[in-house]
Symmetry: C2
Subunit: 230 residues, 2 copies
């Protein structure tokens, strides 16, 4: 590849990309956004939105920009999950990728996501993913682990849920994120006791009809200060 392009350097440099695992909750399941590959390598496989770092931006900015360009989506929250630098991870050459995960508002899944070129963008429930290109299966594994850690530290759970939500909504989300069920009664008590959610007046609350809640940011930050040991 040497002596071919316009960008020349004294020493070897790898190509650098940012890939983005985007999560969206639809009230029933946690979903991620994938883009179908129309060309080799990995034709017919699915990949996370992403692309090459540009000169003027940080990696996080690149991840945000590529997501916007490829799908029109803007992330509410974004966090790095690690660098992927395996020597053979891309058959076309040496490419290292910074992985991010993002969280978007609940309505986002229903908006049409148009690819910028021929690419097709589709939401998949995390429990039923298609074959992924490159090392994106590993990227996904790391993303969900970091999402779980995030659920312990910051209110991304509430950004996935939106303005108001019911406790059973929350529990469905937690079940998908952590991959196992929770005791319904203890689950509710935990959040009510912590004061993290406030009941909203309008309707519900009768037996059989779930009450609606709103996230209490103030209580959250107070709690976080008490609990955070890192």
């Amino acid at each position: 590849m040497a002596k071919e392009g316009n960008f020349c350097y004294e020493y070897w440099r790898p190509a650098v990309t940012a890939d983005n695992v985007v999560f969206c909750f639809d009230g029933e399941h946690l979903n991620v956004l994938l883009i179908e590959r129309k060309n080799d390598p990995y034709r017919g496989h699915w990949a996370f939105p992403g692309g090459f770092l540009e000169e003027h931006e940080t990696l996080e900015e690149a991840a945000r920009r590529e997501l916007k360009e490829e799908t029109g989506i803007e992330a509410l929250y974004m966090e790095e999950i690690g660098v992927f630098s395996g020597v053979d991870r891309d058959p076309r050459g040496r490419v290292i990728s910074a992985g991010f995960y993002s969280v978007v508002a609940p309505g986002t899944k229903d908006l049409a996501v148009a690819g910028d070129d021929a690419a097709r963008a589709v939401w998949f429930p995390v429990c039923d993913l298609p074959p992924l290109a490159f090392d994106h299966a590993e990227i996904f594994r790391k993303a969900i682990i970091h999402l779980r850690i995030g659920f312990h530290l910051i209110p991304i759970a509430f950004q996935l849920l939106g303005e108001t939500f019911t406790i059973p909504d929350m529990q469905r989300l937690y079940t998908d994120v952590f991959g196992h069920g929770f005791d319904r009664r203890n689950f509710q008590k935990r959040f009510l006791n912590l004061g993290l959610v406030d009941a909203v007046e309008e309707g519900g609350g009768k037996r059989g009809v779930p009450k609606h809640y709103r996230f209490n940011e103030e209580a959250y930050y107070a709690l976080r200060k008490r609990v955070m040991k890192f």
Copy 2:
């Protein structure tokens, strides 16, 4: 910088480095290894060992190799702490860096560490660091946070302590890592109750004379499986 070197590419590429925050415990304090910068930029400041990624290796391998080349030290444990891609982080041009933290055996601090060139490598206690070059202060902040997380998940504490150690040794280490004191009695009880350490016969154990312990790896892995929620 275009059209100058032998490595030419169709699109712009950043330089990529790996930097390594190396921790060593000397029985009293937690220390990190720094290398003095003899030239501008940041002449007279200190920086973490690190260097450029080479074509045949992953970023973790690069961090390991640079540490070995610059100081002769081999890490017992190494973990990524994030990518640093600020546009202006290096005044000489666009350089993105993958940060790692490492843990080395307790004796390492007393071995002479010879720099590969004119550079001088010196251990500093984490509570008293000199001015750091580039964005290395931020790298350090992230490193110690990840070290704390690591202390909850994996036995790096015991790799820092070595083969045998006393409970007060451990407590001094924990105090430096977490930046605050612990109740002496509860601290000891926690580790003894969990069965993470086994008393070693030779000497000590009388009042006023600390007993020596050894890390119980089996108990650790059993505990970890029980506790790990991620």
